[in-house]
């Protein structure tokens, strides 16, 4: 082997540089938002994926419209919504959008971990914000009343039911159950139809069991957690907790109305509903279009009732702001969120356009606003409704009697605990309800001890 010639040295150094380049994959792009000529560019997510061609096209058109109306703001829209698996990594890597989508379960933790920007100073003068229902605004506020985001969608749990199965089982689809006893009776009759028909189904996996059990507890007049002198404690080891679990137990084991397969999650239950094999399940109005679209059903087949009892769980979604975003970007982001999602002035135009595209108009929720703004929106919806309003009458009529409560603090962690409770009751006929509640409460207390 002879020595390295100059040319080879050159070649090798080139190879080295090339290999270094290959190794340093994924350089950081220049951050969007550099102000050029006073124009602010903001990154926002929530853009529909290309697979949803019509929604995507519509979103892109709206971005163009917004930019035309706001020449000083550029929107750099990204796909995707809240994904806990990538959120922290995106934040750490400086890749989190300036305006990002969240579910109602997220803000409390994000605010506590300072992963959202305080937008209080920039709210003044943003139209319609004061018309948003206060209880929904509170989801994005801390104890001091500072605001970190805005709600853009909401739901509360009711009962979605199959009107056809009600008829078959000799029940009146216009008079769905209003108490849990009536739910049991109806579920029993529907299960009696045979052919793998299930009267009532509920979730018990991947935190969704805990999520629904929370709604059960509220319905029975109970709480998941309560605050005393600034300290949170589990509150479900109570009569309400026992009643909720006993009812579930009786539905599953005494009446045999919940089928044999358990450890279900939302997709499984929607599939059961979509295949016409399920009588009732607990869900918000937003589930109906999902089932209709995914399983090619008709809106006429499904009804919606309010949840039995005195209260229900409410949730929803909204947008928060990157803690590293500049004031200019936050102001621009607020304008975008208000214009796109919280804008009664654009409702007429939107609804006229969407009702022709098969987007459901006339579902009872979201209902984000209070007072005059809400009345205006409702009048427009009633005029252009393309889904059977009468099917949702039981929900709308009884809603005023059912208080909507938000999720507990550290909701997702508590749900993992309550999942186990739900699973035990639905998979063990001899489940000891008292012990289950006691053990789960002890674990929940240690989770709640970290709430600041």
């Amino acid at each position: 082997m002879d020595g390295i010639t100059r040319r080879r040295a050159l070649f090798l150094s080139t190879a080295l540089v090339a290999s270094l380049g290959a190794a340093a994959c994924g350089g950081t792009p220049a951050p969007a938002g550099d102000k050029a000529g006073g124009v602010v560019t903001i990154t926002v997510n929530g853009m529909p994926a290309t697979t949803q061609a019509a929604d995507r096209k519509d979103f892109e058109e709206l971005v163009k419209q917004f930019e035309a109306a706001h020449p000083k703001i550029n929107i750099d829209a990204r796909e995707g919504q809240m994904d806990p698996k990538t959120f922290a990594a995106k934040l750490a890597g400086g890749q989190l959008e300036d305006v990002y989508y969240v579910y109602f379960t997220d803000p409390a933790g994000l605010i506590q971990r300072k992963q959202g920007a305080d937008i209080t100073p920039y709210l003044a003068g943003v139209p319609y914000l004061s018309d948003i229902r206060p209880e929904l605004r509170q989801v994005f506020q801390d104890k001091q009343g500072k605001t970190y985001g805005l709600p853009t969608g909401n739901y509360s749990m009711g009962l979605v039911y199959n009107r056809e199965l009600f008829r078959k089982a000799g029940l009146d689809p216009d008079k769905p159950p209003t108490t849990w006893e009536e739910v049991r009776a109806a579920a029993k009759k529907i299960s009696a139809l045979g052919e793998d028909t299930v009267g009532y189904a509920d979730y018990s996996k991947n935190n969704q069991g805990g999520w629904h059990l929370t709604s059960w507890l509220y319905s029975m007049g109970g709480e998941v957690a309560t605050e005393e002198n600034g300290r949170w404690k589990a509150a479900f080891d109570s009569d309400a907790g026992r009643k909720a679990l006993q009812t579930l137990h009786d539905l599953r084991w005494t009446d045999r109305s919940m089928g044999t397969r358990q450890l279900l999650e939302i997709g499984d239950v929607q599939k059961m509903m979509g295949s016409g094999k399920l009588g009732m399940y607990m869900a918000g109005p937003d589930n109906i279009p999902t089932i209709v679209k995914q399983f090619e059903r008709k809106y006429e087949e499904f009804g919606l009732a309010a949840l039995p009892g005195t209260a229900t769980l409410g949730g929803g979604d909204g947008f928060m702001f990157n803690p590293k975003a500049t004031p200019e970007k936050i102001k621009a982001g607020l304008q975008w969120v208000q214009w796109k999602y919280l804008n009664p002035d654009r409702e007429e135009e939107n609804v006229t356009k969407f009702s022709g595209l098969g987007v459901p108009i006339g579902l009872p929720q979201p209902n984000l606003f209070a007072g005059a703004a809400q009345q205006k929106i409702q009048a427009i919806h009633a005029e252009h409704a393309n889904v059977p309003q009468e099917n949702y009458k039981p929900f709308v009529d009884r809603s005023p009697q059912v208080e909507v409560k938000v999720e507990p603090p550290n909701a997702q962690q508590l749900y993992t605990v309550l999942d186990g409770v739900m699973q035990s009751v639905l998979t063990k006929e001899d489940a000891d309800i008292d012990t289950l509640l006691k053990d789960a409460a002890a674990r929940a207390d240690s989770i709640l001890a970290t709430v600041k």
């Binding site: 190879a15 290999s19 397969r261 450890l263 590293k324 699973q423 240690s446």
Partner: protein
């Protein structure tokens, strides 16, 4: 000179390196009269070429494997939000880990899974390989059949088995019904759930192990069997006295690899049971996933993965020692 490797060079270099290690000097087969320094300089130059070509791989490794490992260990001693600078909390995360009642449950469940996986997953491929090895016909067809499940994407496997296990219209309960046996709550019973998961895992992964055993069996000299047969040894005795001792080393390696692999079980409980019923199938990795992506507590998750890393590291060291002594 071409920069392409000279096929003789590696052997020569290895020999030289061995000499170097042994004598501590440049030695070997260079022509006498050459200055030592020249030899060393040349070697350095030769190696420089190698290092330059290796650098891309090394840098990629450092960036995407070693750095995350080190960072992960450090995270275990920090509290991070990624919005503020990380806060050092010492052993706090580990204390919180040990205080979580699910921590012990997860280790217990994982240990149980590993044990069951060894009972099923260790014996099944060995028996299958021995049977396949004895076959005269249809061997390649069966070999393909055994390997087929490995080729299925894990999620497809899970969804398929979910239907097998469905307590209503599922395959297994239908078969039991035909045989007039009572239906089972495969995934819904605390006692059966873990066994059901192990069955899925074994079915999905035994193809690879079977092929390794088959290769090992193929390497056993035929004379040994002939000698045993002449001595009148039965099949069982041949298996016990010839086959097993001959592939003992492979058996041990597979055993260790299986322990390392099964302790990292995640997909089966994640998809099929979500850790239920009543936490009966919460495994270490599933709990780790919850810490990171449900609780958003990356410090806690990293502390947990560091512990797992240490435990699996012990098995890995054992594995390396065994394979090295064999070399």
């Amino acid at each position: 000179m071409s920069v392409l490797p000279n096929p003789a060079a590696p052997a020569r270099r290895t020999r030289r390196l061995r000499d170097l290690r042994r004598t501590g000097a440049a030695g070997g087969n260079r022509a006498r009269g050459r200055a030592r320094a020249t030899g060393r300089g040349r070697r350095l130059r030769e190696n420089l070429v190698a290092y330059l070509f290796l650098s891309a791989g090394l840098i990629c490794f450092a960036l995407f494997a070693w750095y995350p490992i080190v960072r992960g260990v450090l995270l275990g001693f920090q509290q991070v939000t990624f919005a503020q600078p990380a806060e050092w909390v010492g052993l706090d995360n580990f204390r919180r880990l040990f205080a979580d009642p699910l921590f012990a449950t997860a280790w217990r469940n994982t240990g149980y899974f590993t044990l069951l996986a060894l009972v099923f997953g260790f014996a099944a491929p060995f028996v299958t390989a021995v049977v396949l090895n004895e076959l005269r016909r249809g061997r390649s067809y069966l070999r393909l059949t055994v390997y087929l499940p490995v080729m299925l994407p894990p999620i497809v496997t899970m969804l398929l088995w979910r239907w097998f296990y469905d307590p209503g219209p599922g395959l297994f309960n239908n078969v039991l019904g035909v045989l007039h046996l009572p239906a089972q709550q495969w995934l819904e019973s605390e006692h059966l759930a873990m066994i059901s998961l192990v069955l899925v895992s074994t079915w999905a992964n035994m193809g690879t192990t079977t092929l390794i055993y088959l290769a090992a069996l193929g390497g056993i000299p035929g004379e040994l069997y002939e000698a045993a047969e002449l001595d009148g040894a039965s099949i069982r005795r041949r298996l016990w006295h010839v086959t097993i001792p001959q592939i003992r080393f492979i058996l041990l390696i597979i055993l260790l690899l299986q322990v390392i692999g099964t302790m990292q079980v995640f997909v089966e409980p994640f998809v099929l049971t979500g850790g239920g019923p009543n936490e009966a199938t919460v495994t270490i990795l599933l709990l780790l996933y919850r810490y990171a992506f449900v609780y958003n507590d990356f410090g806690l998750a990293s502390a947990m993965s560091t512990l797992l890393f240490v435990v699996l590291g012990l098995f890995a060291v054992l594995y390396l020692r065994l394979t090295r002594t064999k070399d």
